[in-house]
């Protein structure tokens, strides 16, 4: 009795999904507020930074130095844009993200920290002292998070390889 309408509904849903998936591959995911487009149009990446030695420290000559600073430079190179550093106190970084006055926040954020609630969280770039460290993006910016995640993932893979190479070398000695 219910068979025909259910089957029809499933068929319809599947067709819809297939169409959506095929036609939207280029446009999904999209940024809610177009952060990635703005970065590309501006030619600059606005990075909010609060010091967390040794992961990231302010430097009068280079803006910022440390593992997270290098990660940001890798990302900027990847996008072909320049980096603009915005030094901010730790807790103002999150507010700046929510108001989208910065595109990225670095400052030794741990994935498990409550700071990461309500904003976009990258993949972890490294595990140090049992904490997974991440960088943050404004909430709702899915498309912008993708290149961030790719660079972070690449860096974390490289770090992993380096760490295991080190282990083998130690064991051989």
């Amino acid at each position: 009795m219910h068979r025909a309408p259910t089957a029809a509904a499933i068929a319809l849903a599947l067709t819809l999904l297939a169409n959506l998936t095929a036609s939207c591959d280029a446009t999904i995911p999209r940024d809610t507020y177009g952060t990635l487009d703005h970065i590309e149009a501006r030619g600059a990446l606005r990075v909010g930074v609060s010091e967390r030695p040794p992961l990231v420290e302010l430097d009068s000559e280079h803006g910022a130095i440390g593992l997270e600073a290098e990660l940001v430079r890798l990302l900027a190179d990847d996008l072909g844009v320049e980096v603009r550093w915005h030094p901010l106190p730790h807790d103002e970084l999150l507010e700046a993200l929510e108001q989208r006055t910065i595109d990225l926040a670095v400052g030794g954020f741990a994935e498990s920290s409550p700071d990461t609630k309500g904003v976009g969280v990258s993949l972890p770039y490294a595990e140090l002292h049992g904490e997974l460290f991440v960088v943050l993006v404004p909430p709702g910016e899915h498309r912008w998070l993708l290149p961030v995640d790719r660079v972070v993932h690449g860096a974390s893979t490289a770090l992993h390889r380096a760490a295991s190479a080190l282990e083998t070398r130690k064991a051989a000695r």
């Binding site: 219910h2 259910t6 509904a9 499933i10 849903a13 999904l17 959506l20 998936t21 939207c24 446009t27 999904i28 995911p29 999209r30 940024d31 809610t32 507020y33 309500g118 904003v119 976009g120 969280v121 990258s122 993949l123 993006v137 404004p138 909430p139 709702g140 910016e141 899915h142 998070l145 993708l146 961030v148 995640d149 790719r150 993932h153 893979t157």
Partner: protein, 323 residues
């Protein structure tokens, strides 16, 4: 003194029972295959939270079935003179309360998220060393979790009819109805990907409402069963025709002047009693009453306890109209 029979399914229903058990195990295996990956992504959005919760609660009915079917047909004892049949109804009650409560939590949580304008942000996850957008993984996972229960639900429904098992029927109906919420969650994830962040809590709240509704429907059924409501058909739509059949049988007997009946359900089984006023002058009344009872028992395997109480008059104040 114990008038309860040991309940047991007739041998011809044994294959249906085995099938129901197999479906329960299949459901559990399937739910595990959804819950494990989904729980690692639960942080990402309200929709995923709601879907995960729905699947987590989906574990309860198959487990209840597997557990109660191990104990419901134990012989009555001095400690449990009514046997353990009601364990099935208790499992039903617990599951429906959990369902309604968790659905309510999702609704409240989603509305709060909407008010706070909390935007989900879906990034990449690593699959076989590739960074893939989480949304696609969720769409695939949620589609899988939607399509499989449609077939499971259909199979369970057939078995539920054979076994007259309301709990199984309710579970099957929920499985079958899941496709709407599943489709909703897939569309919701795609909407998030299009930047329509507010659709996340809205879709999640709708999912929550449907969970609450499922819970309330089941709760009504379970409470009715526990209160000893007159037996209803497996889909709960109308009074079970067996009630009328027994009533007419008794009233049609020549030695019966008057018969008033009350019956209730215990899981798939039926129990109850009839107060019967025999015609004056009828001899061998007790034998006749026993034969009538045997006739009624033979009408369906579902009768576990039915007694005929011979009375000299029916107390009019206790009579309710026939269902």
């Amino acid at each position: 003194m114990n008038t309860y029979r040991r309940v047991s399914l007739p041998p011809e229903l044994e294959p249906a029972r085995r099938r129901a058990k197999r479906h329960a195990w299949l459901s559990l295996a399937f739910l595990a295959s959804v819950i494990v990956p989904l729980s690692t992504l639960a942080d990402s959005s309200q929709i995923v939270k709601a879907a995960l919760l729905e699947d987590l609660l989906g574990i309860v009915p198959p487990i209840a079935l597997l557990v109660t079917w191990r104990i419901f047909d134990r012989a009555p004892s001095a400690e449990y003179p009514h046997g353990r049949v009601r364990s099935i109804v208790i499992a039903h009650l617990v599951a429906s309360v959990a369902l309604a409560a968790m659905g309510g939590y999702i609704v409240v949580d989603s509305v709060a998220n909407l008010v706070r304008a909390e935007k989900p942000t879906l990034g990449a996850i690593v699959l076989m060393d590739h960074a893939v957008w989480e949304g696609w993984v969720l769409v695939a996972l949620l589609s899988y979790s939607t399509i499989v229960p449609i077939f499971l639900g259909r199979a369970k429904m057939k078995t539920a009819h054979e076994l007259q098992d309301k709990q199984l029927y309710a579970d099957a109906e929920m499985n079958k109805a899941d496709w709407r919420t599943g489709l909703g969650s897939v569309v919701g994830i795609l909407a998030i990907g299009l930047g329509l962040w507010w659709l996340d809590p809205v879709v999640a709240a709708v999912l929550g409402c449907s969970i609450v509704r499922d819970g309330m429907t089941n709760l009504r059924g379970a409470i009715g069963d526990l209160m000893g409501r007159t037996p209803r058909t497996v889909d709960n739509r109308r009074v079970d025709p067996l009630v009328d059949e027994v009533q007419r049988y008794l009233r049609g007997l020549r030695w019966v002047e008057r018969a008033e009946l009350r019956m209730h359900e215990e899981g798939a089984f039926l129990a109850g009693e009839a107060h019967v006023v025999p015609r004056a002058g009828t001899r061998e009344m007790l034998t006749l009453a026993r034969r009538a009872r045997e006739q009624i028992d033979a009408m369906s395997w579902r009768f576990v306890s039915f007694s005929i109480v011979l009375v000299d008059a029916i107390d009019e104040s206790t009579v309710v109209p026939d269902p």
